[in-house]
């Protein structure tokens, strides 16, 4: 008999997915026991709105990890592209998402493509290359465009309104809770990425390149093109996430999200993506981000100061990593695979 999971996803669930699901359920029960109001539709709605930018960024990170790389420049790409699109919007006086969204995505794509080209031709660890581009993008933008912040009153009207757009809303005595427009966007991003990764040749090439770049290139996978796709697509997602982030927090801050890169990578890694490439699932990524988001936002409900967030998140990350890699280590020992590092 097929498990319900299998019936929906057409594959077996990974151990990491199972363990994360249990962890999240356990944590939700714990929080609910402290504050029954946690177990509500509002919580879900809030999570959607707050977690949307992180989720989109995480999908991009997943793609990079699957391809066997690591990118730390994406938050800067996100913010830079979004900020740039807003500046341009003012220059042209077109206060509409229909202008900003494509422009931001386009800028993100371009910055991502630059990453890809440098990675390809410098033949250096992706971490080092993106560390360099991160500094260059950030510095260049600040020098060229300035670092003025635009709080809600000064930020583009359409962007501010977009952040508050709901597809449905429920009115409770305590207030109105809306299901943000971000939900279909995030869902679309996840679906599109899933489709690209599993049902197109370029997506399969990403897996192939991640699991063995040498073999992939020998059978004719165009490594440069695959890299351009990976980093370009990740950049596009970053451009999208940047605008959504501004819309969500209702504040345009050109130095926001600095230091966020390692957190997002951590969330994706918790979800079972391997640094060695070729492995990682969208569901796992989703669960990792969900857990991250829960720790960020619900410690208050447990009566714990928010100072515990890093502690818990770090501990879960360690446990996750230990689980994934000790398993791998055992398998390697069994199969007599000797690995570096």
């Amino acid at each position: 008999m097929k498990s319900p999971f299998r019936a929906v996803f057409h594959r077996r669930s990974t151990p990491v997915e199972r363990y994360l699901t249990l962890l999240i359920i356990g944590y939700a029960i714990l929080v609910t026991s402290q504050n029954p109001r946690f177990f509500s539709l509002e919580t879900v709605f809030d999570l959607v709105h707050e977690g949307a930018p992180t989720m989109i960024l995480a999908v991009g990170v997943l793609l990079v990890l699957v391809s066997g790389g690591i990118d730390v420049s994406f938050p800067v790409v996100a913010i830079t592209s979004a900020y740039m699109s807003i500046k341009l919007m003012w220059a042209f006086g077109l206060d509409t998402m229909a202008f900003m969204l494509p422009v931001s995505i386009l800028f993100g794509t371009i910055l991502g493509l630059i990453n890809a080209l440098l990675i390809h031709f410098l033949r250096l660890p992706t971490l080092i290359v993106t560390l360099g581009t991160m500094a260059v993008y950030r510095g260049l933008m600040a020098v060229l465009l300035g670092t003025s912040q635009y709080p809600v009153a000064q930020m583009p009207k359409s962007l501010a309104e977009f952040g508050l757009l709901d597809i449905v809303s429920v009115t409770r005595p305590e207030g109105v809770y809306g299901l943000s427009i971000f939900l279909p966007i995030v869902a679309a991003v996840m679906a599109l990425t899933w489709f690209l990764l599993y049902h197109t040749m370029i997506g399969r090439s990403v897996f192939a390149m991640g699991s063995d770049p040498e073999a992939a290139s020998r059978i004719g996978v165009n490594i440069l093109r695959t890299r351009l796709f990976v980093y370009g697509y990740t950049g596009a997602l970053a451009g999208l996430a940047g605008l959504i982030y501004y819309a969500a927090v209702q504040n345009v801050d050109p130095v926001a999200l600095s230091g966020f890169e390692l957190m997002v990578i951590a969330a994706v890694v918790i979800g079972g993506a391997k640094l060695t490439g070729g492995e990682g699932t969208i569901l796992g990524t989703f669960l990792g981000v969900l857990l991250f988001q829960l720790f960020q936002t619900t410690l208050v409900q447990l009566g714990l100061a928010s100072t515990w967030a890093s502690f818990f998140f770090g501990a879960v990350l360690l446990a996750s990593l230990a689980m994934i890699y000790i398993r791998q280590r055992r398998a390697d020992q069994r199969n007599l695979v000797f690995r570096v590092g």
Partner: protein, 351 residues
């Protein structure tokens, strides 16, 4: 010819850095004049380079093994916090305990904390086979978490005045903290060059599998290396605490990426096995010269960020091009057919 090329491969980067230093010094002498070379400014630069230099050398050790340590700053901060707990009188009564005793306890506490953090990293990497970048990413979040929980995010003030003398005291006009860093560099440099452990670190970085097949305790080596990294971070913590008379989560976060930058700039191979402490020292000096000059020239902070990033990319680009050039040189150099002057007697016959 081949030997010269080989030598250049080993030392080339160091000579390029030395050249860059000289050029920058000359430019600064012309541009900023004697004020830049005043005793005051020299001391200031030495003081500044001290704590960051230690973090950089810690990072370089991790990179020599082909790994990376993203937790250096978190480790230093945690060690600093633990030490500061002593110096603030939380653990021992300052009124009844003589200051030197408190200071000794604090320093010991820092070193032990650093060592434990490093050991834990090493265990995760060696015994759980977690890639260094992920293991130390996780522990950096975790150590920061521990520090935050311990202090509630607050600054822990140092109440033992003698301790922060360390940060300002000079010996023959040279800041004490700088001397500590120089000693650390010399010790690490000698360890890498003259000791079995140092040799093995290079071998491990070059080819961990071959080292394992050579019968070396490769896992113990990794643990040892990261423990040393943790210990050096604890030294940095000591300097940090003495210079700021306090310890706090979030201090020096920017050092992490800077440390990676300076180590790569110094010619350390991110894949491991290559790099020299002398190169690292030159690279640090270069960065400090520029950094101080930028402050004097009143460059905004983002301009600096941009220049650092551009420098990193440029150095990598140049290295890449040089490597390509070398490859072509090698190919042009045609080796004699066969395996060379083998003394074996082979009756070669033509087909």
């Amino acid at each position: 010819m081949q030997a010269i090329l080989d030598r250049f491969k080993g030392h080339g980067h160091v000579s390029v850095l030395a050249g860059a230093n000289i050029v920058v010094l000359v430019l600064l002498a012309i541009g900023l004049g004697s004020s830049f070379f005043s005793m005051n400014n020299m001391q200031s630069m030495m003081t500044q380079v001290a704590e960051f230099g230690l973090l950089a050398v810690a990072m370089s050790l991790a990179m020599l093994t082909g790994g990376i340590d993203l937790s250096i700053v978190a480790t230093a901060v945690l060690a600093g916090i633990v030490g500061a707990e002593f110096l603030t009188g939380k653990v021992v009564d300052l009124a009844t305990t003589p200051a030197p005793v408190v200071m000794a306890m604090a320093v010991a506490a820092m070193l032990i904390t650093g060592l434990l953090c490093g050991l834990f990293n090493g265990l995760l990497i060696a015994k759980a086979s977690i890639p260094p970048i992920l293991a130390t990413l996780a522990t950096s979040i975790f150590y920061t978490g521990v520090g935050t929980v311990m202090t509630g995010g607050a600054s822990v003030p140092v109440k033992v005045k003698e301790f922060f003398k360390l940060g300002t005291v000079t010996v023959a006009n040279i800041p004490m903290v700088f001397l500590i860093t120089v000693i650390a560099f010399v010790v690490v440099g000698m360890m890498l060059r003259w000791t079995r452990t140092g040799r093995r670190i290079y071998l491990y970085g070059e080819n961990a599998i071959a080292l394992r097949f050579s019968g070396a305790r490769h896992e113990r080596l990794v643990i040892l290396t990261y423990a040393i990294v943790g210990l050096i971070c604890a030294l940095a913590a000591m300097i940090m605490v003495s210079r700021t008379a306090s310890a706090r989560v979030g201090y020096g976060e920017a050092y992490l990426l800077q440390a990676i930058l300076v180590v790569v700039l110094a010619g350390f191979d991110p894949f491991g096995g290559r790099g020299r402490v002398s190169g690292l020292a030159l690279s640090l000096i270069l960065l400090q010269l520029l950094s101080s000059a930028f402050t004097i020239m009143r460059f905004g902070p983002y301009m600096k960020v941009f220049i650092w990033g551009a420098m990193l990319l440029a150095v990598m680009l140049v290295t890449r091009i040089m490597a390509g050039f070398m490859e072509r040189r090698e190919r042009a150099h045609v080796a004699p057919p066969g395996s060379g002057g083998s003394p074996a007697v082979v009756e070669a016959v033509s087909a």
